[in-house]
C-alpha cells in the first residue's frame, strides 16, 4: 500500500528566508505526486503536481518541488517566503492506474515570522 510521511509537523521560518518542506513516499512503481496548501477554514488548493518528465516541477507563487526517485522524496522548496505563505502544506501520492486513490501525508504547519 502507498503511504506518505511528512516528518516535520511544524516549521517556523523568518520572512525572506528559504524554505524546504520534506516529503517521503512509499510506492512500488512510479508515482504521481502532489503538493497542496490549506489556509485556515478553507479547502485544499493544488500547488504543483508531478506526473513524469523533468523531476523539478514549478508551481504557483514561486514554489517548486523535486522528485528524487532514488530517495523516494518530493520535497517542496521556495527561495524566499512571505508571511502570507503561513498555512498547512500537504504532500500526496497516487498510483498511475485507472483505480488510483490519492493518499495524503499528515501535513506540515508553516509559520512565517514577519
Amino acid at each position: 500500500a502507498q503511504s506518505v510521511t511528512q516528518p516535520d509537523a511544524r516549521v517556523t521560518v523568518s520572512e525572506g528566508a528559504s524554505l524546504q518542506l520534506r516529503c517521503k513516499y512509499s510506492y512500488s512503481g512510479t508515482p504521481y505526486l502532489f503538493w497542496y496548501v490549506q489556509y485556515p477554514r478553507q479547502g485544499l488548493q493544488l500547488l504543483l503536481k508531478y506526473y513524469s518528465g523533468d523531476p523539478v516541477v514549478q508551481g504557483v507563487n514561486g514554489f517548486e518541488a523535486e522528485f528524487i526517485k532514488s530517495n523516494s522524496s518530493f520535497h517542496l522548496r521556495k527561495a524566499s517566503v512571505h508571511w502570507s505563505d503561513s498555512a498547512v502544506y500537504f504532500c500526496a501520492v497516487s498510483d498511475n492506474n485507472a483505480g488510483a486513490k490519492l493518499t495524503f501525508g499528515g501535513g506540515t504547519r508553516l509559520t512565517v515570522r514577519p
Binding site: 483505480g99 488510483a100 486513490k101 499528515g106 501535513g107
Partner: protein
C-alpha cells in the same frame, strides 16, 4: 468557474441521528472523493466514486455510505451518527482518477 460545492458548511447533530452531506460539481468530472480531516492525521479517504453507481471503499469506510446517482452529485451518509465522526469532511473531484483533484471548502460536522 470550476468549483466543488459542499452543503451544508456547518452542521450540528445529536448522536444517533442520520446525517447527509452533499457535494456537487459542474465540470463533468468522472471521479469524486470524500475525505475526512482530523488534527494531525491529514486527510483520510472514506470513499471514491469513479462514475455513477461505481463506488469503492477508501481507507476508512466503516460507518459511512455514499450515493452517486448523477455524475455531478455525490452524497455522504452517516446512519446513526457517532461522536467520533465529529470532523471536517471534504469532497473533491477530478476529471479522471489519479489526476489532481479539486477540493470543496469542507463541511464541519459536530456530533454531540
Amino acid at each position: 468557474d470550476m468549483k466543488v460545492t459542499q452543503m451544508p458548511r456547518y452542521l450540528i447533530k445529536r448522536m444517533g441521528e442520520n446525517v447527509l452531506l452533499e457535494c456537487g460539481q459542474d465540470m463533468s468530472h468522472e471521479t469524486m472523493y470524500w475525505y475526512r480531516q482530523d488534527p494531525g492525521l491529514g486527510l483520510q479517504l472514506i470513499y471514491i466514486s469513479y462514475d455513477v453507481d461505481s463506488n469503492s471503499e477508501g481507507d476508512i469506510p466503516k460507518g459511512y455510505r455514499v450515493s452517486r446517482k448523477k455524475r455531478e452529485h455525490f452524497s455522504l451518509i452517516l446512519d446513526s451518527a457517532k461522536t467520533n465522526q465529529t470532523s471536517v469532511y471534504f469532497c473533491a473531484s477530478s476529471l479522471w482518477a489519479a489526476q489532481a483533484p479539486l477540493f470543496g471548502e469542507g463541511t464541519r460536522l459536530s456530533v454531540l
